[in-house]
Amino acid sequence: MSEDRAGASLRTPILGTAAAGLLLLALWQAGHAAYGTLVLPSPAETFWAMGKLATNGTLLPAVAQTAANALAGFAAAVLVGGMLGTFAGLWSPARHLLQPIATLALGVPAIAWVVLSLLWFGGSGLAVAFTVLVTTAPIVFAAATQGVLTLDGSLRRMARSFRVPWHVLMTDVYLPHMLTHLFPALATALAMSWKIAVMTELLGGTGGIGDGLATARVQVDTAAAMAWIVVIVVLLWMQDRLLLEPLRSRLEAWRRELPGAGASAFRSPAAT
């Protein structure tokens, strides 16, 4: 790949993102012009409201609390879903027992889990983390099981022939393969964790971004509500750009072609 093309491929996503951002801002402004501040405050009013939330000391503690709730639930889901999923993949009786339970858990609407966890744990951070755990763990479970089941049998046989200990079998053979299934599931579960956390906070009045949204609703402060929405969207976008994307690129280093390898010749110009 020439330097020019490499530069172009780096610039294209940045330009694309900037263009998408500007387009959204323009549509937002047009919506505001058509319907007025009560229905859709302008971007300027929204950022002004966000500035107010930041300066009166509401914004940062709320973000920190939502992050703590969402990430605690997500971490527990990765641990529980990942371990049970691996176990179910390795041992079919466990799979036959756990798979229907995971399917059932996935079938329960997230809002039902919110109500149940608020009844069980009251309006605390624990209720939020628990809701995140039960709604995202089945996704991690299914991906981990699938990851174990789809490992090429010849690799397992090769590893057995060298008599490597079980922890090497996990770290060198199973885990790298499982990650190809797990990573997209983890990215989805992480984004879901934030949304579920906000929803539970909103209904439970447990503090955090969701609580801020509930307050804005009560006060019919659409600008503040929009400010909270922008905060959560920016947080999710930053998470994707700064955490998931570099991680994805690092994990998939082994799939890359050698520089100048034939495959790049077949890539469409639009993709480069």
Partner: protein, 248 residues
């Protein structure tokens, strides 16, 4: 590591009356085989007769339902028909994989793996390449290096050159034969290619269809370098003759 023979014999492995079945399907039925120590034995037979199963049994990957397998080796190593490389590890890490079963520090594992690249005819520049960036022949060389780097005293080869073209096949056959001689290893190779078997083997074993037994065995005493085409034709004729009753 040179293979030690069984005490008081020049045999590397003796299997007696071995039986094995996959569920109700008998694969081996009272099979007996004696492998000469520090020699390459080749196993030929009709496809699906249980050659690979026998290899797995003799290499301790499977346990026989009946019969005994006696051997003096401590470190068997396999080379399979498919190179079975870890796609997410580069060439050197794939070679070093087998060493993880031994308590060898990371640095030494890497050094030994790098040194073994040259043994199988790979360049130092190939060390960091991932399997999908290498040709089929190079991948099979890495699989061979991975087996040799653990310093095995019993090398088991399951149709290792099947996927290679004729030239590459010949190169790899010569390399394996040379390494077995240099290291004085006991080796057993499964092949469906009779010409390959008579060219490489010190002892030939012919298996019947499943449930399999050894129906003929034959020593080829001539040194590898002195096996000319005329000699190989005679050996091949013997093998074809012996195989006629078991052909399916």
């Amino acid at each position: 590591m040179t293979t030690d023979p069984l005490p008081g014999t020049d045999s590397g492995l003796v299997a007696t009356e071995v039986a094995f079945a996959y569920g109700p399907l008998p694969v081996l039925d009272g099979l007996s085989i004696t492998l000469p120590s520090t020699r390459l034995s080749c196993l030929v037979g009709p496809s699906g007769c249980g050659k690979s199963t026998l290899l797995a049994l003799l290499g301790n990957l499977l346990a026989p339902a009946r019969g005994t397998i006696t051997h003096a080796f401590r470190r068997p190593a396999f080379v399979f028909q498919d190179p079975c490389l870890l796609p997410w590890r580069n060439a050197v890490d794939n070679i070093a994989f087998g060493l993880k079963a031994q308590s060898i520090p990371r640095r030494e594992r890497r050094d030994r793996a790098e040194a073994s690249l040259a043994t199988v005819g790979l360049a130092p520049a190939d060390a960091g390449k991932y399997p999908h960036q290498l040709s089929g022949g190079m991948r099979q060389r890495i699989a061979l290096a991975r087996a040799l780097v653990v310093e095995p005293d019993f090398l088991l080869l399951d149709e290792p050159f099947n996927a290679l073209d004729a030239d590459l096949r010949r190169q790899m056959q010569d390399l394996v034969r040379q390494l077995i001689e240099e290291r004085r290893l006991t080796a057993l190779m499964v092949t469906h290619d009779r010409a390959e078997a008579v060219r490489l083997a010190d002892r030939l074993f012919l298996m019947s269809a499943a449930p399999a037994r050894i129906v003929a065995e034959h020593d080829i005493d001539r040194a590898f370098a002195e096996r000319d085409d005329a000699f190989l034709q005679v050996q091949l004729a013997w093998l074809q003759d012996a195989a006629r009753p078991v052909q399916n």
